[in-house]
Subunit: 335 residues, 2 copies
Amino acid sequence: MAATIKDVAKYTGLSIATVSKYINGGRVLEKNKVLIDEAIRVLDFKINEMARGLKTNRSMTAGILIPSLENIFFTSIVSNVENILLQNGYSSIVCDYRENPELEKEKLDFLISKMVDGIIMVPHGSNSAYIQQVVEKGIPVVFIDRHLKDVHCDVVLADNINASYDAIEQLIVRGHKRIGIICGPKNIFTTEERLKGYIRAHEDYAVDIDKKLVLFGNYDVESGYRMLNRLMDVKKPPTAIFVTNYEMTLGAVMAINERNIKIPDQISLIGFDNIQLARIVKPSLSIVVQPMKEIGEKAAKILLSRLNKENQGSPAVNRLKTELLIKESVKSFID
Amino acid sequence: MAATIKDVAKYTGLSIATVSKYINGGRVLEKNKVLIDEAIRVLDFKINEMARGLKTNRSMTAGILIPSLENIFFTSIVSNVENILLQNGYSSIVCDYRENPELEKEKLDFLISKMVDGIIMVPHGSNSAYIQQVVEKGIPVVFIDRHLKDVHCDVVLADNINASYDAIEQLIVRGHKRIGIICGPKNIFTTEERLKGYIRAHEDYAVDIDKKLVLFGNYDVESGYRMLNRLMDVKKPPTAIFVTNYEMTLGAVMAINERNIKIPDQISLIGFDNIQLARIVKPSLSIVVQPMKEIGEKAAKILLSRLNKENQGSPAVNRLKTELLIKESVKSFID
DNA sequence: TTGTAGGCGTTATCAA
DNA sequence: TTGATAACGCCTACAA
């Protein structure tokens, strides 16, 4: 069915080797160049990547693995990563592991079985050892969003500590003293960092932390909903709440709507990640915005530099600045 | 580095052929079975998919191609498709074409160059001829969400006409006579269908349509925003507006917030696609919900049946029912 | 610059 | 049931 190099060779009267060399950027007489191009066009020749890969041991494919394809924060990063890789001749295989560590392992295996040349992933956190094995096999891995100490690979992430610090600082500066935070799951990297920023801001401004106001969710809509309710049910509820990812922000807003709580009079709110949310919610929502485009681009470029062996240095942690949008959802007690 | 069948053969003392046969489900003496399993485990043997693919001409991989990875309607379908395929031994390569027909072509080529065994895609609409060529090559293609007349392949989509009809009907029944609609781009399948439902409902209830109230957007946030504004600026504005996809619904809500329009007193609103939006917007938004899970599953199953040659019949159009949630955003003029 | 030939890891045919 | 062997389509010394 599909034409092979052999067919092209036959058509042109040249040898397979010559055609192959030309296809791979080698030097060929001008007239042969034209001839081969014609043959390729006429025969609709497409390289057989499997055969090539078998020979070269490279697939020119990268694996992208994220926790969920239903989380726009991740998919929009994927979109950027995929685009840059494609521009550089690499294609991507995108998988999600549905926040399931078992599945993360499986999909990782799958990617490897597809002989990806490199991997960009948002790790779950509980498969460090396994991922480290992959790294040791010599497959370049780039982490996004989360950092695992036991894995020696490049990382690209937002400056979570400062992101969180800035948000809390703005609340404190506006006179808030009881600030609730809805964190992610306890053992996850971003959770710890975002909580750290919360704590530091309190320390720096000498504001006491009430542990009842520090709750841990699951980074999903439902837990955001639940935790907001729980915060409001504390005997002395907070005057402001910081929600540390997009899904939980959604859940929090839902709960607020349901309870008919007035923003910002009854509660001030700062959310996370999705800039569009700011304009959907009324009054407009204050938000910590991660540079998703930059994160994706950075990760892709790092992977490429590893694949090209341009970058042989030891793994680096790349932190990108976040942006804080303060809108109507934050009340000021100071005039 | 990686162990091959040859290594396994050597380890077990059997021949390559025997090991290969066993791996592919062939009959082997019980003791050899055990032996081979041991070898595989000890040597950490993994099949080389490229070599296998070269030989079998099958990659056990499906291509998934969608307009945008930043549209949760599509990605959530992808998530379901991918999962079902994986359960059946197929992996997926996910791409987006950023709503760009040129890119759609390129990515299609890319998928084919990756030798995918089948393709599930949301077509843009302007590459019919090209896609039909793919179909004629014998690669099973399943369309999602949109139907192209010139391409002979299976299609899975929501019952757009009735979805739209039902929404408009509910508005009319509640006494609305001037109903605006924000459609998608003019030449797109879903646009036509959703508009058709709008028209039919008007006809059936003998309500005149004011053409000024029928606007066409781009299925993106920005156009939703713009079209809502334009509708409100009509001399005699509508009392209700139906927005026909998720992104434009977002944009419409933004515009409404910005203009400080009161829902449902000043305008009734029915949106599309994203069920979470219903609870984020206040007062709660009425919404047409597509069965994304079912759509994905159906498409995956159809593709599998084609790949297994179980289904050799002619292509079919599969319509799935939508759901209409009427919430607070719709005002009733009838008591 | 071009061509010859060997091999990448697997499957499949055909004998044994 | 098992094994020897010829492809699959491509790349790459090496030789011409």
